[in-house]
Amino acid sequence: MSTPTQTETTPQSTFARLRDLWNDYLPYWFMAPMVAVMVMITFFPGAYDLYLSLVAEPTLDVFAADFVGLRNFETAFTRGGAIHSFIITITVVVSALLLETVLGFVLAALVAGVGSDRAKSFYRVLFIIPMAVAPVSLATIGRIMLNSEIGIIPYVINTGTPFAAPSFLSDVPLLTVILLDAWNWTPFMFIIFYAGLSSVPKTLIEASRVDGAPMWRRYVHVIIPYMKPVVFVATLIRLIDLFRTFGVVYGLTGGGPGTATQLVSINIYEQMFINNQITVAAAIAIVYLVLVVALCNVIIAKVGFEGVWD
């Protein structure tokens, strides 16, 4: 009689162990590729940015770097103009978001109320067009159309109204930036709100009509509450996107006059590619990242999805 040797049992038991390992951790294996991708495209750049913000100057040999603590952060907030650019960014984000939400909803409600299907299709296409214009094109077109000497908009204001057109890019640059962004992105809100309005059950509206509720009451008490999730998701997406605004403002004003429209994104770009202050740019980027992520988390936690559907 012979006892089973290890060499006879090992292949089978190894396979079984591997199978058990696979089955026991099945969800993790499915998640692994995504985690790997996330590490590569999100965590690694973030960690490298943090590293850059803490060193005197970037070097390929990361261990030979001269760490300077929070000095780059101090530079960013003293002579780097970080505070000013944060204020400008918040101003633009809040104003543009409000404007785009209100305008988008009003346009969606107007189009939804149009009787003819053909007219509805026409308006849908018409209102979506601005969204298809790329930021750099929009900035270039904007610069030409707003130019005080050769622009069509000042010409129309000067000849068609009793008012003198302001110099848009030098007298009211921040307002101009907000209005142009609203022109570009109101269609995004319009299309989402229009889809939301289309999904409101007709029975609800019929019922409120039978009850004698005027139009505004129907919107305030029936339609808008029903659309809360849509409004929340649309504004959250747009909010995050507004924090990333760069191309249209840089192309239009370059952040000026002076630093009147210097968003954080433009400030980071200038620190990086004009001033060659890579470490200061990294420090501003870190602070910005933390603030935006924190803000979005607070919004989601306070008025987030559960609250919307409650």
Binding site: I150, S170, D171, P257, G258, N275, N276
Partner: protein
């Protein structure tokens, strides 16, 4: 039209509009030509590949022109060099002559031509990581930063090598003094940091017809210039007295202002790095003059005018004269793009009545990095490219007008091609030019200085407040 036809038409129109608008984005990736030197007219060459000899086998310049030099042209036969360049008239002007270099030396030339901002990013990555991809690259206002970081290689050892350089043949003294000075880091370096390849100098462009109509004399002083602007501004409808760069950027408003502050007896960095000089009387006077000129007789929104706005306003005949600008504008103002091509005159920039004529100038140069694999081959290319035969051919046979060699500006064939007056004004301006000295932190404080000037032009603060603040910022940057 039936319903279905209408629907099809509307859909097709919608798709067409969307497609058209999306198509507008092509080529608009930030290379808007707002180059810091103001010279990016976007005449880009191809973006890579090895250039070859012409199909007919004839070389643009005979090899005999170079064989007199006591230089061993063929010592690196069989190798190749990588050139990193911005889309710029120099690239398109020299490319047809590059087969001459390849035939002369046996060295292949590989071009990497990029829009200006993309090129700057790639160049910085190349040198700061030590990659050494480019053997030759375009160099501008960051020269002293690159030099102090040890990223570029001084050329003096190559000049001292008898097999690479022949002083008698090359004639370095033929290069404008301003060009040689800027190639030495604008006074911050004792060694050659690169070889100058193009130069532009500020001059004055004016509308001859309007001057004649209003009986104006071409301005020699700042006061006359302002008076001429006033006369045109007040007597012409749809024409502003003057137009000038008001936008920020170290190649924008301060590139112009620096001429006037020097003519006022001031200079950047009275005492480097303690006293920027930006709050001195000369600078404040110059800033006040420039700011009030643009505010009173310039277009609305002068603070956002870039070099291309200035050019197009003048081309469309909507300005009486340009405050001062680069000679590279000349082809644009007198070519087919200009509606006033035959009405534009050129003169030297005006200076204060008791001041000194001292126009600003800017040179692009080509340099080689410390990590370049083929620096000696690169140096041979620099010598060949900036030599008299190559330079003369580019300007006489080609359409270039930016030579760093005096002999080209004195060349009769060239002068008859570009016009006697243009050539003489530019030559005399270049001989007296005083380029900006770009210290190692110039890109940083220059940007802030230009922001302050832009604020003043926009009316957000006085010129004196702006310059005082600019001085404080510049000195603060060096105090840390």
């Amino acid at each position: 039209m039936t319903n279905s036809n209408r629907r099809t038409f509307l859909k097709a129109t919608g798709v067409g509009l969307l497609g058209g608008l999306a198509g507008c984005t092509r080529g608009g990736d930030g290379s808007d030509g707002s180059g810091s030197d103001g010279s990016s007219d976007g005449s880009g060459g191809s973006d890579g590949g090895t250039s070859t000899a012409g199909s007919d086998g004839e070389l643009a310049v005979p090899l005999s022109e170079y064989e007199d030099a006591d230089i061993d042209w063929r010592q690196f036969e069989g190798s190749s060099i990588n050139i990193g360049a911005v889309q710029h008239p120099w690239v398109s002007a020299i490319k047809p002559a590059v087969p001459v270099f390849e035939e002369l030396t046996g060295i292949d030339v590989v071009w990497n031509v990029l829009p200006e901002q993309q090129f700057r990013t790639k160049r910085q990555t190349d040198v700061s990581t030590g990659a050494g991809q480019f053997d030759v690259f375009y160099m501008d206002q960051v020269v002293n930063q690159f030099r102090e970081e040890g990223w570029i290689q001084p050329l003096d050892p190559f000049f001292d090598d008898d097999s690479l350089f022949d002083e008698d043949w090359y004639e370095p003294d033929d290069l404008f003094e301003a060009s040689r000075w800027q190639a030495h880091g604008g006074g911050y370096s004792d060694t050659w940091t690169g070889m100058p390849i193009t130069v532009e100098v500020q001059t004055q462009f004016y509308r001859k017809d309007l001057y004649e109509k209003h009986g104006l004399e071409v301005a020699e002083t700042l006061e006359q210039f302002r008076q001429n602007a006033k006369t045109i501004h007040e007597n012409e409808s749809d024409v502003v007295g003057t137009v000038g760069r008001g936008d920020k950027g170290y190649g924008m408003n301060i590139y112009i202002l620096n001429t006037f502050l020097r003519q006022n007896g001031a200079e950047l960095w009275d005492s480097f790095p303690d006293d920027s000089g930006l709050d001195s009387d000369g600078v404040i006077d110059a800033a006040e003059w420039y700011v009030s000129l643009l505010q009173d007789y310039g277009p609305e929104g002068a603070s956002t005018q870039t070099w291309s706005d200035v050019l197009s306003t003048m081309q469309e005949g909507r300005a009486g004269h340009i405050v001062s600008d680069a000679n590279l504008f000349w082809p644009g103002l007198t070519g087919s793009d200009s509606s006033v091509a035959d009405k534009v005159g050129i003169a030297k920039v005006p200076s204060p009545a008791d001041g000194q004529f001292s126009p600003n100038a800017f040179n692009w140069q080509i340099s080689t990095s410390k990590n370049a694999q083929n620096s000696e081959q690169a140096f041979l290319f620099m010598v060949w490219a900036s030599s008299q035969p190559t330079n003369t051919w580019m300007h006489v046979e080609g359409d270039a007008a930016f030579s760093v060699r005096q002999s080209v500006w004195e060349n009769d064939e060239f002068r008859s091609r570009v016009g006697e007056n243009f050539a003489q004004v530019t030559l005399e301006s270049l001989q007296e030019a005083a380029p900006d000295p770009f210290d190692r932190k110039y890109p940083e404080w220059g940007q802030r200085y230009s922001e302050e000037l832009q604020r003043a032009i926009a009316g957000q603060k006085s010129a004196e407040e702006a310059m005082t603040q600019a001085a404080s910022i510049a000195e603060d940057i060096y105090s840390n």
